[in-house]
Structures are given as structure tokens and as C-alpha cells.
């Protein structure tokens, strides 16, 4: 990749070296955050299994908040850093912006840790209005303020990063070219790498998500000043922001697969009319699919609920027919170089697909009536995160680490790592799915008698998480080692 970037004529060797270094720093930071945040998740499942019965439940909810926001943030920066690195071949992202965002992200993370582990702020990642203001004595006003300060800092930094990457795309491509419109009308035009197309779509969507977050924070401030805000409006804005953010993280991961998997398969993956239509459809549909988070708000107009289901269902088309089929067609009977990276890319797309199937099922209003806020919800998003975009980003870091360090992997260790991650990961996920099917609620520190089976499922999940953590540790040992060597 950096050879291609060097050949593009866009960069001097010195500039590239600095960018490589920044990318490695991002990668190592992600690799440091991963085990910490994973251990927090481990703690949660252990708590639910009854292992910490003497500990106040407030700790569970504070850890839940940190784990969920921390993971979303980690994979956001991981995917943005990865895409920035891959864009070096085509355009010039700004290194200073990347450094600025890095410092801002660290500051935001520190503040998040302070308000959750230090202040027991426990609203969950979507801080649904007006819960942050109803602490019931658990967290102090300073923790609420620190939480919103963290979100503001992260939001501002990440918006600047988004704008910078969009600016970088705009320096080489017109808007129409970047969205592949020439393919739609059948005009010959500039070759558009799928990476650029998907990144452009994702960045536009994430801009709208960040604006929604700004409005939410501003309205919280209005409430703090004594003006009641409509809870339903806040819910719509909050889920618009959250839904957009978690989806574009996945799309940026998919973009990395479109860019890197072809080199392992020895075949190209080009933008064509179908790919352009698919991602144009995603740009539109993802803005309305978020209504599926509000099905159980019966006050929301029914036509909006049905629109949410239709858009959520239709989003399966570009994903399934174009990206997933494209991956399979790319790899089918190819002279495939199966390394840890390419395996993770391939399995990541599979995980994204499986999580997507569970998501489409839950986006059916009739089904959501029985699955909403049960363990089915963390089941599906952990599937397309842990076994989806996380695998892809870890594959990217591994790919970059090998490329920049020159160190090769040990195949046997890679196979063991993959097996542990797969068995541990899907086993852990299955207990979530089974919990959802059996009506176990999500986000419960302790399971009451009606859903006491949740405790047993948590205990089984803990066993699988142990395997998963071993796999993560093996990965960290190998890949971390390579990244550190490349940095040195």
C-alpha cells in the first residue's frame, strides 16, 4: 500500500514516513484500548453471572457506559485511521489534522474514564434524555458535565477529521465523480476506486450524525437551563446520530476490504454501475432506517414506523447483493493468499452478513415487539462489530504492521488465533442470541427470577469470552510486536 502511495506522486518519502508513523500510533492505540475495553465487557458478563454479587450494581452500569462508548469510539478512530492510510494512494489527507484528532481523542477518552469509573456515570452509551439528569444520587453533576464535555471534544475532533477527509477527496474528485455518478449515466469518466466511493458516502452520512449529536447536546444544555425538551424529539435525534455513527464505522471497514482484499485474491474489485447504485442507495436509505430504534414508541406516527421497516429491509440489498456477493465472487477459485489479514477480511464480511440478518429480522416491527431491548439487540450488533468490522480493522492493522515492519506471520499461530476468535466469539454471541430468544432483557446487572436463565447464559458466555480473550491476546502479541517494530 505505501509502495503504491509512494508511486502515486502525491507524497514525498518524508511525508509518507510521517503518515505511516501516525497510522501505526493509531493502530497501537487501538490495540491498547481493545483488551482494556474487552476486559470491561468480560467484567459485565461476569457480573451478570453472579461473580461479583457483593459489588454495587452502579459499577455495572458505569462499566457498561464506558465499554459501549469506548468500543464505538475505538472502532471509529480505527476505521478512520485505516481509511486515511489507504487514501494516501489517491489523495492527501492532512497529517496535522490526524495528530490534532489523536490528542483530542485521548483527552475525550480520559474524561470518559473519569466520569464513568470515577464518577459512576451510568446512562449507557446513548444517554437517553432525560436520564443523565436523573442520577438518583449515583453520579454527581460534575460527572454529567464531564460526560458531555467528553462527547463535545470527541464530536468536534471527529467532525474536523471527517471534513478533512472529505476535503482530501474533493481535492482529487468532483462530487459527481466521488459518488460515481458517471457510472450511473454510463459516461466514461475517471476510474473511481470503491474505497473513495464508500468513504465519500460514509463521510457525508457521518456529518449528518455529528450535527444531530450537536443538537442533542445543545438541547440537554437547554434543559439544564430550565427549558423542558420534547423527549420524543430527543430520542429521534439521539438514535439518528447513533445509528449513523455505528453504520458508517462498518461501511469504512467494508471500504478497507474493497481496497485490500483484491491484492490477496489477485483480482481487481472495481467500481461499476452496480456498485455506484448500491452505495448511492445506502446514502439515502441509512438516513431513514434509524426509525427502527423507535418502534416501541407508539406515539411516533405509524407511517414513520413502517418507513423505518421498509428502509431497514431495503438496506440489505446493497449489502447482500453487492458487497457480500462481491466478496464471494472476488475470492471464489482465486489464487488466494490466506494470511491472518485476508482471513480476517473474509470472515469480517461474513460476520457483517450474519449480524445484518439478525438486524433485518429485528427491524421487523412485529418481531421487534418481542425482541426490543432483549439480549437479541447486543447479539446482533456484537456480531457485526466483534465478528465483523473489528475483525476487518484488526486485519488492516495486521496488514499495515506486516507491510511496515517486514515481519511475516507464523501460519500456525495465525490459525490458532483465528480459531480462538471464531469459537470464542461466536460462542459468546450465541448466548446473547439464545438469551434474546428466551426474553432475557439487555443491560441488566442482575437477572430477576422471571429471567433467571440469564445468569446461566452469562456463565456459559464467560467461558467463551475466555477463549476469545486468549485469541485477542495472541493477536496482540504477534501484531502488536510487528507494529512496535515498525514504529521503532
Amino acid at each position: 500500500m505505501t509502495a503504491a502511495a509512494a508511486d502515486s506522486g502525491l507524497w514525498s518519502e518524508a511525508e509518507l514516513a510521517k503518515f505511516r508513523r501516525m497510522t501505526l500510533i493509531w493502530g497501537i492505540t487501538v490495540l491498547l484500548l481493545l483488551p482494556i475495553l474487552a476486559l470491561l465487557g468480560y467484567f459485565m458478563r461476569l457480573y451478570q453471572s453472579g461473580a461479583f454479587s457483593g459489588m454495587r450494581a452502579e459499577w455495572f452500569y458505569a462499566v457498561l457506559t464506558l465499554h459501549s462508548l469506548g468500543m464505538v469510539g475505538t472502532w471509529f478512530v480505527g476505521s478512520m485511521a485505516g481509511v486515511s492510510y489507504l487514501l494516501l494512494k489517491y489523495t492527501r489527507p492532512n497529517l496535522a489534522v490526524s495528530k490534532f484528532v489523536y490528542v483530542g481523542t485521548l483527552l475525550g477518552v480520559v474524561l470518559l474514564i473519569a466520569c464513568t469509573l470515577g464518577g459512576l456515570f451510568g446512562t449507557g452509551w446513548y444517554f437517553l434524555y432525560p436520564l443523565p439528569l436523573f442520577a438518583q444520587g449515583v453520579w454527581a453533576p460534575w460527572a454529567t458535565f464531564t460526560f458531555f464535555a467528553a462527547l463535545t471534544i470527541l464530536g468536534v475532533c471527529w467532525t474536523i477529521w471527517t471534513l478533512d477527509l472529505l476535503r482530501a477527496v474533493a481535492q482529487r474528485y468532483s462530487l459527481g465523480a466521488a459518488l460515481g455518478w458517471n457510472y450511473l449515466v454510463g459516461k466514461p469518466g475517471p476510474e473511481l476506486p470503491p474505497l473513495v466511493l464508500i468513504t465519500t458516502v460514509s463521510l457525508i452520512v457521518s456529518l449528518s450524525g455529528f450535527v444531530a449529536a450537536v443538537i442533542v447536546i445543545a438541547l440537554f444544555a437547554a434543559r439544564a437551563l430550565g427549558v423542558n425538551v420534547d423527549p420524543l424529539l430527543m430520542k429521534n435525534l439521539t438514535f439518528f446520530f447513533g445509528h449513523d455513527l455505528v453504520n458508517i464505522i462498518m461501511y469504512l471497514g467494508i471500504a478497507m476490504v474493497y481496497e485490500l482484499l483484491p491484492s490477496y485474491a489477485g483480482r481487481p474489485w472495481r467500481t461499476n454501475r452496480t456498485v455506484a447504485i448500491a452505495w448511492g442507495a445506502v446514502l439515502f436509505l441509512v438516513m431513514f432506517a434509524f426509525f427502527h430504534h423507535l418502534y416501541m414508541d407508539f406515539a411516533q406516527p405509524t407511517w414513520i414506523q413502517k418507513l423505518g421497516q421498509i428502509c431497514s429491509y431495503l438496506l440489505a440489498m446493497p449489502a447482500g447483493v453487492v458487497s457480500i456477493f462481491g466478496t464471494l465472487a472476488l475470492v471464489f477459485a482465486a489464487r488466494m493468499k490466506w494470511t491472518l489479514s485476508s482471513t480476517f477480511f473474509f470472515l469480517g464480511i461474513l460476520g457483517w452478513g450474519i449480524g445484518g440478518i439478525a438486524a433485518v429480522i429485528d427491524s421487523t416491527v412485529e418481531v421487534n415487539f418481542h425482541f426490543h431491548n432483549t439480549l437479541w439487540v447486543p447479539a446482533h450488533f456484537h456480531t457485526y462489530y466483534l465478528m465483523g468490522v473489528v475483525l476487518i480493522i484488526l486485519g488492516f492493522i495486521d496488514h499495515a504492521g506486516k507491510e511496515l515492519s517486514g515481519l511475516e506471520e507464523k501460519p500456525a499461530l495465525s490459525k490458532l488465533t483465528t480459531a480462538l476468535l471464531l469459537i470464542g466469539g461466536y460462542g459468546f454471541l450465541f448466548m446473547f442470541y439464545w438469551g434474546g430468544v428466551n426474553s432475557v432483557p439487555r443491560r441488566y446487572a442482575i437477572y430477576p427470577q422471571e429471567v433467571i436463565q440469564g445468569t446461566l447464559y452469562a456463565r456459559i458466555a464467560v467461558g467463551f469470552i475466555t477463549l476469545l480473550l486468549l485469541g485477542i491476546l495472541l493477536y496482540l502479541w504477534e501484531t502488536g510486536r510487528r507494529c512496535l517494530k515498525a514504529l521503532a
Partner: protein, 279 residues
């Protein structure tokens, strides 16, 4: 001559009789007039609280026969076609009934839906009222030719069972020669009471809400204490109407800003305007 001594004892029985009569009269007063004094309340003012809708909502309405200008028919013959707004008055009413019906008519004109979403049935609870009395009342109100207003009478026992099931109450006040009664209109859908509006007049906004409910919709939002900022659609209870509010603009703002920001980056930023190797 005032005699004392043994001869005066002969006068004692009269005095005692007088005292006994006073005591008896007093006792009579206590035992007769005190309950009457308590009962005085029920004549002078309403004896019951305004009926609470929640005690009656979704309860079945007795399907009683009523006599109208179309002959004798059960109430269900009317509510099977369309939901019914039912109210009870009496034709000799010198106080609230006519103003109440006029305000109902006005509210109906304002809210709409008469004939398409519901019909109105006005019954008398006065056993002395005849169909002719009710038709005269309808004529005085200008409603006798309106096919969606039905004026009728029913038997006293049927009226009593209807009143008990729908929250109406009425009581004869002999001092005023009038009935004291509730002023209310109830909405009946497929035989079940769904809404109740109590009060001497019918606000158009309230009726609009009732009509919405008869159409299967209802107002889900209510006012929170303090000023509520930015709903998408604000319901105004005084007018009974929804209006667009700034919340809708806030929902459209993220997408709009994303489009504007994209346009700014691609079309207005100097670095984008002078593209290198524009492809």
C-alpha cells in the same frame, strides 16, 4: 286570680302539657326536618361529582329501544352504522339544556365529521316528554331537518339503565320544578363508551379530540410542566389542532447541514476549486 297551694297543682298538668307539646314539636322538628335539611342539598345543587371518564370508558352501553321520528328502533341500529354522540336533556329545561345543545351544534360544525364519522342522538330523561316535545325542541334549535341529529324518547327504566351506564344523572327539584342533571355528551363506538365530555358547554377543541378518537387516533402527547421546546408537531388543547413546530426543523437540520457542508467542501473550498490532476 292566681291561686297557689293545692288548688294550683290542678293547673300543673296544663303547663306540663304545654311543655310536653313543645318538646314533642321540637322532637318532631328534629326527626322530620333535619333529614329534610340534609336532603335540601340535593335539591339546591348537584349531588354528585362530575362523572369520571375512566369509570365508564370501554364499558358496554345498554342497547335500549328508543322512539324517534323513524319509529321504534334499538340504539344499536344507529351505532352499528356510525359511532354515536349521545346526550340527554329534557324539553322543559329552562337553564342549561338549550345552550348546551347549541354549543354542541357549534362544536360539531367546527370539528366536522358529522354524518361521515358519527351521528348525534339526543334523548330526554323526563318521563313526561313525548316525541312531539323533542321534535319541537329540535325545531327550535333548527335541527329537525338534519338527518344526522336524532331526537327521541325512551321508557323511564331504559333511560335509567342508559344513564347509569354512561354517567348521566338527573334529579327532580320540586322547588324549581326543574331537573338537576349532568351536562355531558358521551361518544359510543360499536356499543362501547370511548369518550366523555362533561360541562355546561362543549368546546370545539375537546370535540375535535373526541372525533379523532372515533376515527381510531388519539392525542398521545400532553403538556409537561414548564415550557416544552421543540416538538415536531405541537398539539394545542385550546384549538384541538396540531401545528408544525421547530422540532421538525431540528430533525431536518442534520441532513441539510451534511448536504451544505459537502457542497462547501466540494464547491467552495479554495483547495477544491483549483483541483490538481482533476479527474
Amino acid at each position: 286570680m292566681h291561686k297557689t297551694g293545692p288548688q294550683s297543682r290542678h293547673r300543673l298538668p296544663f303547663r306540663w302539657s304545654f311543655r310536653a307539646a313543645c318538646v314533642a314539636f321540637f322532637a318532631f322538628s328534629v326527626f322530620i326536618f333535619v333529614p329534610v335539611a340534609f336532603a335540601q342539598d340535593s335539591f339546591g345543587q348537584p349531588s354528585q361529582e362530575p362523572p369520571n371518564e375512566e369509570r365508564f370508558v370501554y364499558k358496554l352501553t345498554p342497547d335500549v329501544p328508543i322512539t324517534t321520528s323513524s319509529g321504534v328502533q334499538n340504539l344499536s341500529a344507529i351505532w352499528h352504522e356510525k359511532p354515536v354522540l349521545l346526550t340527554m336533556i329534557f324539553s322543559r329545561c329552562a337553564r342549561v339544556c338549550s345552550p348546551f345543545l347549541r354549543s354542541l351544534n357549534s362544536a360539531v360544525s367546527d370539528a366536522g365529521g358529522l354524518g361521515t364519522d358519527y351521528r348525534i342522538v339526543v334523548l330526554s330523561f323526563d318521563p313526561k316528554d313525548t316525541l312531539a316535545d323533542m321534535q319541537r325542541l329540535a325545531s327550535e334549535l333548527g335541527l329537525n331537518a338534519d338527518p344526522d341529529w336524532t331526537f327521541g324518547v325512551a321508557s323511564p327504566s331504559d333511560i335509567r339503565s342508559l344513564a347509569a351506564a354512561t354517567g348521566f344523572w338527573f334529579q327532580w327539584d320540586s322547588s324549581t320544578q326543574q331537573f338537576d342533571h349532568a351536562s355531558l355528551v358521551v361518544a359510543i363506538d360499536r356499543g362501547q363508551l370511548v369518550r366523555m365530555l362533561a360541562g355546561p358547554s362543549v368546546p370545539a377543541a375537546s370535540l375535535r379530540e373526541v372525533v379523532q378518537e372515533l376515527r381510531g387516533k388519539f392525542v398521545a402527547s400532553y403538556a409537561l410542566a414548564g415550557q416544552v421546546a421543540f416538538r415536531c408537531f405541537e398539539y394545542d388543547p385550546t384549538s384541538g389542532r396540531y401545528s408544525l413546530d421547530w422540532g421538525l426543523a431540528l430533525m431536518l437540520l442534520p441532513g441539510t447541514c451534511a448536504i451544505l457542508a459537502t457542497a462547501w467542501v466540494f464547491f467552495l473550498l479554495p483547495a477544491s476549486r483549483k483541483k490538481r490532476n482533476l479527474i
